[in-house]
Symmetry: C2
Subunit: 230 residues, 2 copies
DNA sequence: AGCAAACCAATTGTCTAACAAGTACACATG
DNA sequence: CATGTGTACTTGTTAGACAATTGGTTTGCT
């Protein structure tokens, strides 16, 4: 069905489209993606489809063993915890750095403005600007490696999000308010407070995601959420 | 020259051998690696060589633009700073966690014992157990994502090391002593102290590496070397 | 002679076709 | 019912070929 695409690289174009389809939920978890199927649906050769698949496997969006068909990754609650812990490690340190220089990234401000702008629409609409907000903070550090690491984490988060269709659990107003507070703390140079708020922000998102995925909340679910009012 | 190799995957075998040759310094920075050359030297088909190259490009060991020959990555001082900053972000938080649980990884103890054992030999010999020490700490956390991130950083560090042949700047005894101190601080549950010592440990290694690389002729040789002040 | 444009060799991107090897599931058999 | 076998499907790898791009070289014009 997907028509022939051509861009800078056919492999990249195919991988990019598959990525979108995975994030949109069109391709669900554990769905099989054979090389020949992809090759025929995009009207490309099998090696091209193979390369695109391997790209996504390297990104963690697909999984496959030797001589086995690639499948959309099925991330469990423990994976979500790993991902969010890694996010917290990177992002909290970045916040301390930004606060030390009182650097408020313009892109992050804009991203949060976009979140505030969307009052309605599908619940998944908040995912993109939310990820953009956090990515903007990371990118403001100007560290290529850290940005790349964070990108891979964001990709996995989006994969998790696509699994959870009942996203009324995403409180857009709360997300926007906490982002705003983060920016203010950075501007005030209060790095420790910003890092602490971020930990709560990510921790709550993580627990809601784990809960929505049907996973049992872990033993460390007892974070006092009342701290957020602050 | 390189004889035919066969393992679980030919692509992985070729990539693995190239990796060793890069780390050993046999393949120097900016050296061109054409697909046909690799294919003929390993007696594999060109697509296989291509896949191996792309694997190493994804790892950051090789770089290449579209339609251009792959080359061994040439990391400058700013890359070294990025890499070591990322290492510090991840590893210092991991140390705090390990100290909180008073978890002293047996593999790290063994790795440091190996460093103590080698009193002589080529200066590059200390690189492997040193990296193993740090990787053991990270792996003890049991977080798959963080371990993978750290692996990519280690690979780039080893690439830098291979560029610096005059490694008398590596003080084996000092490295071993600081590692020992780190383990003791973890055992004592003093996470903050361990994190602080690690920052110094990594900071010193970074500055030595930058200084050693700065003396050589690099593309960014014209920037004031006084920035490296130690 | 000097500079610019066209040409050419080398390399990569992609495709087609094919065979080998491994996996998974159904089927037959004890 | 359990177990072994076999067959279809899928992936791993190869060979050869052609298009597209890059970079250097050569040619042509002033």
């Amino acid at each position: 069905m997907a028509s022939r695409i051509s861009a800078v690289s056919i492999v990249e174009a195919v991988a990019s489209d598959l990525r979108v389809r995975i994030f949109s939920g069109e391709l669900v978890s554990s769905q099989a993606l054979t090389e020949t199927d992809i090759a025929s649906s995009y009207e490309v050769a099998r090696p091209t489809a193979k390369a695109a698949i391997e790209k996504l496997v390297a990104e963690g969006l697909l999984v496959r063993g030797v001589h086995k068909t690639a499948r959309v990754a099925d991330l469990g609650p423990e994976s979500v915890r790993d991902i969010y812990l890694a996010r917290a490690y990177l992002e909290s340190e970045v916040l301390r750095r930004l606060a030390a220089g009182r650097t408020v990234p313009a892109a992050a401000v804009q991203a949060n403005r976009d979140i505030a702008a969307l009052k309605t629409g599908a619940p998944l609409d908040v995912v993109e600007p939310d990820m953009r907000f956090h990515t903007s903070l990371i990118d403001a550090l100007g560290n290529e490696r850290i940005s790349k690491m964070y990108s891979s984490l964001v990709a996995e988060v989006r994969l998790c999000m696509s699994r959870v269709q009942s996203l009324h659990l995403l409180d857009t107003a709360l997300i926007q308010a906490e982002h705003q507070k983060l920016l203010e703390l950075i501007e005030a140079g209060q790095g420790e407070d910003a890092a602490r708020l971020l930990d709560q922000h990510l921790g709550r998102a993580r627990e809601r995601l784990v809960a929505a995925m049907g996973g049992e909340a872990g033993p460390e679910a007892e974070l006092p959420s009342s701290l957020v009012g602050e």
